[in-house]
């Protein structure tokens, strides 16, 4: 190992400038940076018994020091620590510290260090943060990264852009809420979903299980996912392009320019394209006779997906009135062909969808607006539209042949229905530090929905169009008590109000109050215990209340759902001898949901409709173990088990106990896990180049499609074992990167959903260029 000695630069050492002299009062502030003048966010600065953490700009501040002689100790992960003694002068003092990296220690940060993602993991909530930056050389989207988190299973119906269903401790769909930088994504439209946002857009992804912090101001039943895009660099370019199997192209460009004066332009653009023409094994029906040719291996032919997005922000940073004030626009569109229905035997050849997002945005952030008060304000309005296009009056078979129906049927139901939801959102959050260990926070989140739609093929529809509106307000209040590295506790209240209107006459209002608590305690600096509880409430969404006009019927009588969520967790970091380092995180969860919103078929079985049921009860646990050896080997595994029980004791219309009461809920994975191994070889070829070789295993236990207790001859979703490999070669400390990926290496047939086959084996090449300047 190589130990480079650290050095300290004292840029300026100001004398006493204080207006009114005060005995024994000293103030010390400054910046902690690396040798390249990049701020070291999260560096710990200790002055005698006081501690401060450097902020995103690397700045630390001790407003009130009572001794003249101070011991200064500065530590940051991956850097040599600094210690020294200073003599302060009365009033303000400045000390800028530059730390030198422990280059050869970097790899062990994986386990032992405290990156920003791991810092999030230390919160009292049952939270897992993914450090997205480590996945930048892959072709993943957000959902792919989430699939590796304990407790999460992302079920996909096909390839790039296919429908997904994320399950978090058994909760799925609308029970989970999604956020970007704390802003709810409810109104982002189909062009911005976790299955089409590339991982490079994010700096990290935070998964809150069961108990959702009140500053994420929304009504979630089973948890929340927050994508943090971050603003790590003031000036940088990060561009990547990948090409691979099934004619898949992806491009991501991430860049920012910030002038000395604080003017900033930030641009994030990305594109996904795939033919998704992977081979599947199907019973291919003859369109004329209906006879099946069982076990036909054939390529998908109508599954092209592409989306393009551009997120632009212009504004100022580091001004007296704002740390950040940005106005921007988010533009996106997507095109999606639909190959199959709910079962792979139903095949389509023309049906597709389009969606657009046109969303002006406003972001404002200011820390210490008045001393101790941080303010964040966000607003946006989506003017985009969604369209379902089914105009081909024909029936297709798997060979791509078609046969006209001779009617005006479309393939499924002829439609050109186009609608705009006109969804607007504004959030404001205030955090006030009353004293060293106490802080209060207030969050308000207001959203609106107003649907307009029309179908040029069916003008009579307009007679029945009624204006559909909802207004929702979520108000949260929290109190936080924090003794750094020992104990932290948060209590919070959330009040949700929602108003729904259907046309002129039908209207209703709902109010719900929820509350929660999260607490974490360090038994030793490396052993943390956590407990959290929340009574969650979720209001029905506009889609659930009004339907989507195509496949979903509205239910104006729907009640809000609620759940009692409990988490217990433990995290332990340890080393066996110096070189073998481990980190173990385990969680136990309990969920009890009432008035659970689920989907059933309507009277004519022509559409689905949301309805309330008594609920479900879930016991479960998950564990994650990570290991590293020296600085070149890393491995990890997660395992999740959940027992999700039906607690609907009586079905509507029955007085006897339901035959499936306390039966395990069907068609939900209950045992699954991931394992990964990575080897990092430094200085391959030449100094500063690294070679990273990784392997990832996905395991999902088989599960029943329908209730386990019913029937003898049953349908199931078979076990999945998927092996993925990747090799990344980085040149010039990560400026140029070339990566090769192999997915589903053994080419097994994999299913997340009954009969819907996921992609066969695929290979992808990814090129990435990254540069940043102060």
């Amino acid at each position: 190992m190589q130990y480079i000695k650290f050095y300290v630069t004292v840029l300026s050492f100001c004398g006493a400038l204080c207006c009114h002299a005060q005995v024994d009062h000293f103030e010390l502030s400054g910046f902690v940076t690396d040798a390249g003048h990049q701020p070291l966010h999260g560096a710990t600065v200790k002055i005698n018994s006081l501690t401060a953490i450097a902020d995103a700009d690397g700045r630390y501040h001790f407003p009130d020091i009572r001794q003249r002689q101070v011991q200064v100790a500065v530590t940051a992960v991956g850097f040599e620590s600094y210690t020294g003694t200073r003599t302060l002068t009365q009033g303000a003092n400045t000390l800028n510290i530059m730390l030198n990296p422990q280059t050869n220690e970097l790899a062990t940060v994986e386990v032992m260090g405290l990156t920003k993602a791991q810092e999030v993991n230390r919160q009292a909530y049952n939270v897992t943060a993914i450090d997205a930056t480590k996945l930048y050389n892959s072709t993943m989207d957000i959902s792919g990264a989430l699939d590796r988190v304990a407790g999460i299973r992302v079920r996909e119906s096909g390839g790039v852009g296919s429908n997904f269903n994320l399950s978090l401790n058994g909760f799925t769909g609308n029970h989970i809420r999604y956020f970007i930088d704390g802003i709810p994504m409810d109104n982002f439209g189909s062009s911005f979903q976790i299955n089409n946002i590339p991982i490079n857009t994010a700096e990290r992804i935070e998964v809150y299980k069961g108990v959702v912090p009140m500053w994420l101001g929304s009504d979630a039943l089973g948890g929340a996912i927050n994508i943090v895009t971050g603003d790590r660099y003031r000036n940088f370019v990060d561009a990547s392009y990948s090409y691979g199997s099934f004619n898949t192209h992806r491009t991501v460009i991430n860049t920012a320019y910030t002038s000395e004066g604080g003017f900033t332009v930030r641009l994030n653009a990305y594109q996904n394209y795939s033919d998704n023409n992977y081979k599947v094994m199907v019973d291919a029906a003859d369109i004329n006779t209906g006879a099946y040719a069982p076990g036909t291996k054939i390529r998908r032919f109508h599954d092209t997906y592409h989306n393009e997005a551009l997120i632009t922000n212009v504004g100022v940073v580091d001004k007296s009135f704002a740390d950040q004030l940005l106005v921007g626009i988010t533009l996106g569109k997507n095109y999606k062909e639909i190959q199959t229905g709910a079962r792979m035997v139903s095949v389509f050849g023309g049906w597709h969808r389009r969606g657009t997002t046109i969303m002006p945005t406003l972001k404002y952030k200011k820390e210490n607006l008045i001393k101790g008060l941080d303010v964040i304000v966000n607003a946006n309005y989506n003017l985009g539209s969604e369209q379902n296009i089914d105009t081909v009056n024909a029936r297709f078979d798997w060979f791509g042949n078609s046969k006209p129906t001779g009617t005006n049927s479309g393939e499924r139901s002829r439609s050109l229905y186009k609608y705009r939801n006109n969804e607007g959102l504004s959030t404001a959050s205030f955090n006030y530090r009353i004293a060293n260990r106490h802080s209060l926070s207030l969050n308000n989140n207001f959203s609106t929905f107003r649907r307009e739609g029309s179908d040029e093929l069916n003008p009579t529809n307009a007679q029945y169009e009624r204006q559909k509106r909802t207004y929702k307000n979520v108000l949260g209040f929290g109190y936080n008590y924090d003794i750094e590295d020992l104990w932290s506790t948060t209590v919070f209240l959330k009040h949700i109000h929602q108003n729904n209107r259907d046309g002129a006459d039908a209207r209703n209002a709902m109010d719900k109050l929820g509350y929660g608590l999260a607490s974490a305690y360090y038994l030793t600096p490396r052993f943390q215990l956590k407990a959290s509880y929340e009574l969650t409430n979720r209001m029905p969404t506009a889609y659930e209340i009004f339907g989507d006009v195509e496949n979903q019927e509205g239910n104006f009588q729907l009640n809000p759902e609620r759940s009692n969520n409990v988490n217990l967790g433990a995290a332990y970091d340890f080393a066996l001898r110096e070189d073998h380092r481990f980190s173990l995180h385990t969680n136990l969860i309990y969920r009890r949901a009432y008035d659970y919103i689920y989907y059933r078929l309507n009277n004519n079985q022509s559409k689905t409709v949301a309805d309330n049921r008594d609920g479900v009860e879930t016991f479960g646990g998950d564990a994650e173990l990570r290991y590293s050896f020296k600085n070149w080997l890393m491995a990890g595994a997660t395992l999740t088990y959940q027992h999700i029980m039906n607690t609907q004791k009586y079905e509507e219309g029955y007085s006897g106990i339901s035959p499936v009461y306390r039966d395990q809920m069907p068609n939900i994975p209950y045992l699954f896990g991931n394992a990964d191994v990575a080897v990092v070889l430094q200085n391959v070829g030449r100094q500063g180049n690294t070679l990273n070789i990784g392997y990832n295993l996905l395991f999902v236990h088989d599960f029943y499609l329908y209730w386990p207790s019913r029937g003898g001859d049953k349908l199931d979703i078979p076990q999945q074992l998927s092996h993925d490999f990747n090799v990344v070669y980085s040149v010039q400390d990560g400026r140029y990167n070339i990566a090769l990926e192999a997915k589903n290496f053994t080419d097994t047939r994999m299913y997340d959903n009954f009969s819907l086959q996921k992609p066969s084996r695929g290979f992808y090449l990814n090129l990435r260029y990254f540069i940043n300047k102060k």
Binding site: A285, N288, T289, G290, Y292, G341, A342, R343, V345, S346, V347, R395, T405, G406, T407, N408, S409, G410, S413, R414, N458, T460, Q463, Y464, N551, Y598, Y599, R600, L601, N603, Q605, S606, R613, Y627, A635, A637, L639, N646, E651, G653, Y654, S655, G656, S658, P659, V660, Y670, L671, G673, A675, H701, L705, P708, R710, G711, G712, D713, K714, L715, F754
Partner: protein, 406 residues
């Protein structure tokens, strides 16, 4: 590395062991030539289970650990040519039809083939005729498919115009289809077929039957009667052909206009004499009058001009309300008798619709009765004295079909 993988696999092994511990107890099966389709009453994850039974008069069957699981939430069943067809109702999507016969009292899968989601189906000659009926005003057609029950393939297909029969600006939605002589009778209700008023009509006081040739499915004529409302109901066969070839048709009189029940005519039975394609204007059986207010929602022919009828009271009447009471009618005598010996109507959740069983011996019919307690029974109805007696017990779901194969 080793420590990690050992921990993972130990964990998997432990959890697998835990997961495999809660296998439910199987109940003994009941081999036989009756096929009972049972749907567990559940809010979600609903599939039908096909169970066999040796007889309907006695015994017990259950879905606990028994039955052949059928994919899809709604399925419909029909027997023809000594084969049992299990059809998926797939929300507009094509779907698989599974065919079974019975071997040694157990279901034996013959084949799968693909058809469309259909709203009416019936045996015609050696075929099964299926109809996919549009409920959208922009598509005034119904597609038909003729399945050969020997080859189990689609023999031919075509379309009929559903705006043509009434020619009133609405669409004809066939309540059901039935072979009568060498023709196919398709009684229908008129629907607006748009938007939130899809299944409403401006013509609540007429009964219609479209008459098609077979196998060409050419519209030959439309017969109409204004003495009652439309014949049959959504997914309910309103026609009965008796031994001498006369056709009887019932109307529940449940048309809806502007969200309200709008038929002013009574629930009644009308007649098309054998060999003709006209309503017999001299025959009219006013069921509501004869029964003192009941109206028919479904019926089962038991032979000798007698039908076991499912009825609702005036108060219970509705577009989708299915009768929980039974009566026996003789369409020649125009008599109505309420069946005795049935469970108290307050204890009944539902009666099996459309797929009850009779050997058409002129006396007995078998009707599925699903009690609110969650237990179901097949009741044996003696049409001679309009009495019911409890038969086969069915646990773990509601009885949706009772079929028989030789």
């Amino acid at each position: 590395m080793n420590i990690k993988s050992n921990t993972l696999f130990l964990g998997i092994a432990t959890a697998t062991l835990l997961a495999s511990c809660n296998k439910s107890d199987r109940e003994p099966d009941n081999p036989g030539n009756f096929i009972i389709a049972v749907t567990p009453a559940a809010s979600t994850g609903v599939a039908d289970y096909l169970l066999t039974a040796s007889g309907l008069d006695t015994g017990r069957i259950s879905t606990t650990g028994q039955g052949v699981e059928q994919d899809g939430t709604y399925r419909y069943y029909v027997t023809h040519n000594n084969k049992f067809f299990s059809m998926l109702y797939g929300q507009g999507n094509p779907g698989a039809v599974t065919t079974y016969n019975i071997l040694d009292g157990r279901l034996n899968k013959l084949s799968n083939f693909q058809t469309e989601t259909v709203q009416a189906f019936a045996p015609v000659n050696n075929d099964l005729l299926l109809m996919k009926i549009s409920r959208n005003i922009t598509n005034p057609f119904a597609s038909w498919y003729r399945i050969n029950t020997n080859t189990l393939q689609i023999e031919s297909e075509g379309k009929v115009n559903t705006a043509a029969p009434s020619n009133n600006g609405e669409l004809a939605h066939f309540s059901w289809i039935k072979q009568v002589g060498n023709k196919v009778f398709a009684p229908y209700f008129s629907i607006k077929a748009c938007c939130s008023a899809s299944f409403e009509t401006a013509y609540p006081d007429s009964a219609w039957i479209a008459v098609y040739s077979y196998p060409d499915m050419q519209l030959e004529k439309v017969i109409k009667d204004n003495r009652t409302s439309y014949i049959g109901r959504y997914f309910v066969d309103g026609l009965g052909v008796v031994e001498n070839g006369d056709v009887y048709a019932f109307s529940a009189s449940v048309a809806v206009t502007d969200g309200k029940m709008s038929s002013t005519k009574p629930s009644a039975v009308v007649k098309i004499p054998a060999g003709t394609t006209e309503f017999d204007q001299s025959y009219f059986f006013n069921v509501e009058q004869a029964s003192d207010g009941y109206n028919i929602t479904d019926w089962l022919y038991v032979g000798h001009n007698k039908f076991v009828v499912l009825v609702t009271t005036k108060g219970e009447k509705g577009q989708y309300a299915a009768g929980k009471r039974l009566g026996v009618i003789n369409v020649v005598d125009k008599s109505f008798k309420l069946v005795t010996g049935m469970p108290d109507v307050d204890d009944i959740n539902s009666l099996t619709n459309m797929s009850n069983y009779s050997a058409e011996d002129g006396r007995y019919g078998y009707v599925g009765v699903n009690l609110k307690s969650g237990v179901g029974y097949v009741y044996k109805i003696d049409s001679d004295n309009a009495s019911a007696s409890q038969g086969l017990r069915v646990d773990g779901g509601t009885i949706t079909a009772i079929e028989h194969l030789d």
